[in-house]
Symmetry: D3
Subunit: 198 residues, 6 copies
């Protein structure tokens, strides 16, 4: 082996376009955590949504008062917030960055729960994956709580709604790009509103 | 406080129907990890699917040979397998159980990647959430790799296909229960087949 | 080095009384995870308590209705349940065992929150530390939520109330052994009772 | 659903006073990781204490020389330092920040071990919870090592002693605010002093 | 897509020889966590070694008394024990199993530290990787502590010494199979012996 | 206890030379996470290598085409990248820092696999341990995949090759300092080159 070991990895570690613009893949197709040391820490945010499709009678039990108002929404919300923090552990090529803000909100229709997750950072990379992970994990936690009564429960429409900050600035979803997730019905229940707790 | 502290938690810890059959919620709506100490360890399996919708030109770059065959499928597969092991960490009320087998497979169409995850255990609870988590995390890892080229990429149709074992025995999805995820096109590329590596 | 490497560790790995009965310490004082492979899996439970001392006006805001009823109790409860699952990660010499049941309950007095955590397993070791960890982490999560309004908030009286199962069978705290934690006032608020949510 | 999904989460993500000044709770009582992206990274430190009450004969065995000097103090110290790093994982609403310094020290009396933990950071938030978590986990590790000989062992008096840095600057505990933890006896043994190792 | 989704994963999940006997690789070369649900839980143990090569003057400072006897050995030992518990998190295809016993011992020569790690379980798979991970992580922790004084410090000779239990029974290393690690010099210091603490 | 609790930990938390220059050990030999709050964030990198010695016939099966080209290299690469992110969790005294770039490459000879890992950060501390951890964990993942066919497989020669940045600037290994790891044979197979996938 003649070439200096110090050269090859430095080359591999440098910022390049990646294979055909796939920044997570080196020119030979091998995975890497792309070097972002040269990027500037700036305030970035991302908002993602996910939808959980639930049998109406099961969802009605959660929202209609037959079940005592309790922890169900908080369980999903906290799972989502903690999921955002675990993004770098779950996604092999994601960077370890500071998660500096996270919220998870719900909109409930007769047969679905819409989850909206926003993550914020003042670090070197965007937090799109943190937001999508938060929405997904919140959705999985909701699935976990209802699956005993509705095995067919489905997590769907996990997608980025908006991102701000970073070199590429603001992006907002153009729903024409992909078939939109089925429209959520008007939120007849706002899970965290005091009125909903009565 | 008059009642003995030892009584109350034992009561709370015992197996009961939960609020309206929500086993994860106690009668007063509070969250709990339901007691499964009395359940018998038996062989259980679960299979879940997820679908990632990607812009065809981006997906074509991954499968059509313009990108060197590399780690992309393995990254998603390994993320899914490791995600199955992290289920109890991600879902607040999930039990810590042994994950005794996990596979993640792909079917690729012109505009989508179908992910099929199977988890197996010989422990006290089913592994439905492990399978759905594996499919979701594999999907998120795929999203992470393509989002730089397709911000509108979407993870959809995360749902249980089949479960076996346990008290309730085998369950197989009846697609009529919920609108099915859009049919995956014929798999023109089997990502792991030697031919696809040429 | 004359003695066979295979012998020494096997000896070190065998069950012995430990230094002066400290099972976590070998005869020479070195730490070890004591070998429990020979123990029989049986149903075991443990209940621990912890008390958070909070400024009455701050606690009143949480329970008196001036703050919308929301996630505060669920945050602490879920932190405790997840803390129980992380016991083996937090305590260097703790075993990796299955946590098969966990509950966290609260009793609220004018100046304190009493936390009662119960953990259950059908595994090889007791879950006393899981219960004490659950109570402690639930308490720390409560501290985290009120510290902005009461920096002097204190977590106190983390102690085992009862254990059942295992070779040593049932043990119940004899409060004379140690000065008891200050008596919790009558629970004027049961955080999860529907009435308290009105 | 008419309002733009991008608006609501941005609103939810913005810095506000929170419910009645509870920054971890949004106006509707829902939990959130409060947005700190606008805060300036500065050097911050926090010192917390905890006290473990142990049966004197058990503690004497650890400190009096009948047990070979070994790893017992290091086990608790390392558990505390690692606990500080796990704060964001244990506390659902805590931020992922850099932990840039941590120490755990002990003072041993005839019937108690006083634990003093200090954490330091140059990041966006205070490290009070990191210090209290370090003290708590170090205490739980100590409990784990002695519980076989003293099931009544108790972790008590986990509280903040001092914080420095950040917008609110320095705060030092005024012991009148709360009943102080029982005075630790004069440290007759400084566990890490060479003399104590003889 | 014609074949039933439920069939393919079940097939993929079944026990087979794997590609050319690589059980972690399916017939098509894709990674998997091999199904061990059919295996019987039995007592299994594994012992591995690792050697850290350190500059003699640096090692002498640690063992010769110029540095107060302290936590250095415990830091490495605890890192190793905790590393054993993290095996399934570190190795993508490793199973989540119970770790039911772990010890880490040292033998110190003039220019090297030999680490011997033993792990034990009563679960479905062997713990060879747990033992090798424990030895490696203990070695890395030692490297971390001395690297400031010896950047050339090297971790070498991480290898299995013995395994017992399971279908394949006992295996003991035949040093002729591979060039042995350089013989460790006679242990002139047994780090944990009380005498060494004087 | 007369001295102010706030003083002692501050002193303990300050930057000092440590015991005999061991920065991870305080003057009394106790372990600590050394305070780096005063250090400046700068771009730092580190490259480490590790070598896995495998029976030639086993390695030939992986590289010679008798096994379908698949995930084996990606499994080890991803394990290494994720291992770099877990450094602060594995090494008790390591700081929680941002990992801002990571690559793992392989060179394959007839009887060995050489692993070269590079990590990069723009944070307060060097990433030498992240690089050595990445190389070690990638090596252990490779061991895990071949151990079923070669129990004598060995991980060796884990060592730093180069570091850049920070106060001490660039350091490059002088192989005379320590007996070098056995020279890797000419790489007859470059695992990630498209040709090797044919």
């Amino acid at each position: 082996m003649t070439e200096s070991p110090a050269v090859q990895p430095t080359a591999a570690g440098s910022i390049d376009a990646g294979a055909e613009g796939f920044t997570h893949l080196a020119g030979d197709g091998s995975a890497r955590m792309v070097d972002v040391t040269a990027k500037t820490p700036t305030i970035r945010s991302a908002t993602a949504e996910a939808t959980v499709l639930v049998a109406p009678e099961v969802l009605a039990a959660l929202t209609g008062g037959t079940v005592p108002k309790g922890d169900v929404w908080a369980v999903a919300r906290i799972a989502g917030i903690q999921g955002a923090k675990k993004c770098a552990e779950l996604l092999p090529l994601a960077h370890v960055i500071g998660v500096h803000g996270a919220t998870v909100d719900f909109e409930v229709g007769p047969d679905r729960i819409r989850i909206i997750a926003t993550t914020r950072t003042a670090d070197r990379t965007g937090v799109e994956m943190e937001a999508m992970t938060a929405a997904s994990v919140a959705g999985l936690a909701m699935v976990d709580m209802v699956k005993g009564l509705d095995r067919a429960v489905e997590l769907t429409g996990v997608r980025l709604l908006e991102k701000t900050g970073g070199r590429s600035g603001t992006w907002r979803r153009d729903d024409a790009e992909h078939p939109a997730a089925p429209e959520a019905s008007d939120a007849s229940v706002a899970p965290n509103a005091p009125v909903a707790r009565g």
